[in-house]
């Protein structure tokens, strides 16, 4: 692709991100950014390493609880709380990843799911810390006080712009990982682990590092999600949360990086429209969309668009 064309999606993406809370209801814009980053983290593992994690809610939720607890008990400014959450997710990912990257395919998915369910039960039982079913309520959101530079941080509109740099940092990290020699090795491992091993790459170790990086990004997203809602519930650790992220990746296009955010935007917006229309069975419709995309558009939304762009360029 020519250089000018390559930066076109980037420029368009930045413009969209910049105006999102002006055109959409700000809490929805916040949700889109958080879910987009979460889905990118899953894509990093699924699309570029070939590992389908069905337990990424463990990292999203662990980080959400950590960020919430740090903010509540220490009054730390929100970026610090979020980074603490991401760090906690990365630390958790080391043993989980160590035990699960030895398996592939469905076994890997099951092991990660098991760990996520474990975290769910722990959070549900450890009521003194997590509040159990009540969740962590009224998490404080501060940065140089509650009104940095005259903007009301409790207003989701302003908070969006304060949290955006952190989220963009996450997207940048994902992009950098994919377009690095390390990222190329991951793709090689995905396509042919035996050959990668024969070339002298320690496959398990590479997978473990990819797993921890992906968990840290999922944690970053989860921490931002907790801060956006000022509220952490057990749902953040529920298996449906892992499922939703995987659905976003498949819908957007596996291994495209751009697809996941697009699909996240569509799904979050769709849920918003449906809830405004008092349509309760949201899963029915999102599931239907999923089935249609998987059956008719194997490459997902972004994969299809990219193919189109390529065709235009050639034609």
């Amino acid at each position: 692709m020519r250089k000018s064309l390559r930066f076109l999606p980037l420029a368009a993406g930045l413009v969209v991100v910049a105006v999102l809370p002006r055109v959409l209801y700000p809490p929805v814009a916040l949700d889109i950014v958080c879910w987009a980053l979460f889905a990118v983290a899953v894509d990093l593992l699924l699309g570029y390493t070939g590992l389908l994690s069905f337990g990424h809610a463990a990292f999203w939720g662990t980080s959400a609880y950590t960020a919430g607890l740090v903010a509540e008990h220490t009054g730390a400014p929100f970026p610090l709380a979020v980074l603490a959450g991401a760090a906690a997710a990365a630390v958790l990912a080391v043993p989980v990843g160590y035990l699960s990257v030895r398996r592939t395919g469905i076994y890997f998915a099951m092991v990660t799911l098991a760990f996520a369910q474990l975290m769910y039960v722990v959070a549900n039982q450890w009521r003194g810390l997590t509040g159990g079913e009540n969740g962590l309520q009224d998490v404080p959101r501060t940065l140089f006080g509650t009104h940095p530079f005259g903007t009301d941080l409790s207003d989701p509109y302003y908070f969006y712009y304060w949290m955006l740099p952190l989220a963009l940092l996450g997207f940048l990290a994902a992009w950098r990982i994919v377009h690095s020699p390390f990222g190329r090795v991951l793709v090689a491992i995905r396509d042919n682990p035996a050959r990668a091993r024969a070339l002298g790459y320690p496959v398990h170790r590479y997978k473990l590092v990819a797993f921890v990086l992906s968990a840290a990004l999922a944690g970053l997203a989860g921490g931002l999600f907790a801060m956006s809602h000022q509220f952490v519930t057990l749902d953040t650790l529920h298996w449906t949360t892992s499922g939703q992220a995987v659905v976003m990746v498949v819908l957007g296009g596996i291994g495209t990086l751009w697809g996941a955010p697009v699909a996240a935007a569509i799904l979050v917006r769709l849920q918003d429209i449906l809830s405004l229309a008092h349509f309760e069975e949201v899963g029915l419709l999102t599931g239907g969309v999923f089935v249609v995309v998987v059956l008719l558009f194997r490459r997902g939304i972004w994969g299809t668009v990219a193919a189109l762009l390529r065709r235009w360029r050639i034609g």
Partner: protein
């Protein structure tokens, strides 16, 4: 590559979907001084599909609509506005859904006051939103005393009842009536935890003893309480009373299983923390006959209540629970306060309501307590009639005594700083 051609519409459709029906963007607006946008919107946020759907649910919307009709009929052309509507949402008893819904109601639907919100964890989340958005919230169906304790705020009123009212009534009365050793089972979330705390205090104060407590998951999709109930017989000392703190459909399941296991024959009597008339109706009065409990309002108590119940029945084909009556009363008193203040500005309306003494179809000797926004009123100690004494459909309760407002509720806890 014939198939590629149909993919362009997909991408376009996706983009269109994200931007479809744009609006609601930008920073939050400030409150106006008169009626914002010339209308009043009331929001009813509650459970419309789960275990608490019968006690409030869609019929709570009917009750609020009745209040709107009565307000319009009373003031006619002199009303602050003729444009009063009610919107509603189902929070599925999930605190995060409740929080999002409440935010949507205030920000996007222009709701001036939210009513109802059963499930204490959800109610606490909505109270947070009310505080942040500086809009009113009248809690009706949630009982946690944190709502008027450590989580209280200027824009939240705790209207119908609370865990202390239930514990003071039932816990004390049953203990004085011979219940010495209690085994408490509770749903493990804010409401159940507060109920257990309240009952433990009330029982010990009356000279009884709580032998053990056990929590059940909430929500409890398995509907299985057998392990909790069967434990009762093995406790030492053996309890003589099972205190059930579950509510709504959960309560009904516990009572059914209590009867299946014949715990009564094993010398363990039933005490119920919170019961609505709809629960008795679902189970049938014989499943509960003789059980005493605290009620905040009973439809067949006097002629005033009865005539409201008749109007309610005409629209819903059921008798109102105390939550329905309280929704009606809260909505009407909110509208009266807006009328008196001449504005829907939340802070002004709060000022009008604080300290107000009210007597209406729901509130008897009612006071909107300024210190913690708890609305206190007379409560009732009731007993479930056996079916042989039920004179007409829904006539399930015998009111044993009226508990005066100052005894029914605890004084302000001191944890609340408005």
């Amino acid at each position: 590559m014939r198939t590629i051609r149909i993919r362009k519409p997909l991408a376009l459709a996706a983009a269109a979907l994200v931007l479809a029906g744009c609006g609601g963007g930008g920073p939050r607006g400030g409150g106006g001084s008169k009626l914002t946008d010339g209308k009043i919107v009331l929001g009813v946020l509650n459970d419309q599909s789960g275990g608490y759907a019968d006690l409030g649910g869609k019929n709570a919307v009917v009750a609020v609509q009745l209040a709107i009709d009565d307000f319009k009929a009373k003031y006619g052309a002199k009303a602050v506005t003729k444009d009063i509507t009610v919107v509603t949402a189902d929070h599925q008893n999930k605190p995060d859904v409740a929080k999002t819904d409440a935010q949507q109601m205030y920000d996007r639907q222009g709701v001036d006051a939210i009513f109802d919100v059963p499930t204490s964890s959800a109610a606490l989340a909505v109270a947070d939103v009310a505080k942040q958005d500086k809009r009113l919230y009248f809690n009706i169906s949630a009982a946690s005393d944190d709502l008027n304790g450590k989580s209280c705020n200027k824009f939240t009123f705790h209207y119908a009842y609370d865990t202390n009212m239930l514990a003071n009534g039932t816990g004390a009365a049953d203990t004085e009536g011979g219940a010495r050793n209690w085994y408490l089972v509770y749903p493990n979330y804010a409401f159940g935890q507060d109920m257990t705390r309240g009952f433990t205090q009330a029982v010990s104060k009356a000279g009884g003893h709580v032998v053990a407590t056990a929590g059940s998951p909430f929500p409890n999709p398995t509907e299985d309480y057998s392990s909790l109930l069967l434990k009762a017989a093995s406790l030492n000392p053996k309890p003589d009373t099972l205190g059930v703190m579950q509510a709504g459909a959960d309560l009904q399941n516990v009572v059914k299983q209590y009867n299946q296991f014949k715990l009564k024959d094993r010398g363990i009597k039933l005490a119920v923390g919170l019961m609505f008339i709809t629960d008795i109706h679902s189970l049938g009065p014989d499943a509960l006959a003789g059980t005493t409990f605290t009620d905040a309002w009973y439809w067949n108590f006097d002629q005033t209540n009865r005539s409201f119940a008749n109007r309610f029945y005409a629209k819903t084909q059921t008798r109102p629970t105390f939550a329905h009556a309280a929704n009606y009363s809260a909505a009407l008193n909110y509208l009266e306060a807006v009328q008196a203040a001449g504005t829907d500005d939340a802070a002004t309306v709060v000022g009008n309501l604080e300290g107000k003494k009210i007597n209406d179809v729901f509130l008897r000797n009612g006071t909107v307590r300024a210190a913690d926004h708890l609305v206190t009123h007379d409560a009732y100690l009731a007993q479930v009639k056996p079916s042989s004494q039920v004179a007409e459909p829904w006539d399930y309760e015998k009111i044993i005594k009226t508990i005066p407002a100052d005894q029914a509720f605890n004084p302000p806890s001191g944890d609340c700083h408005l």
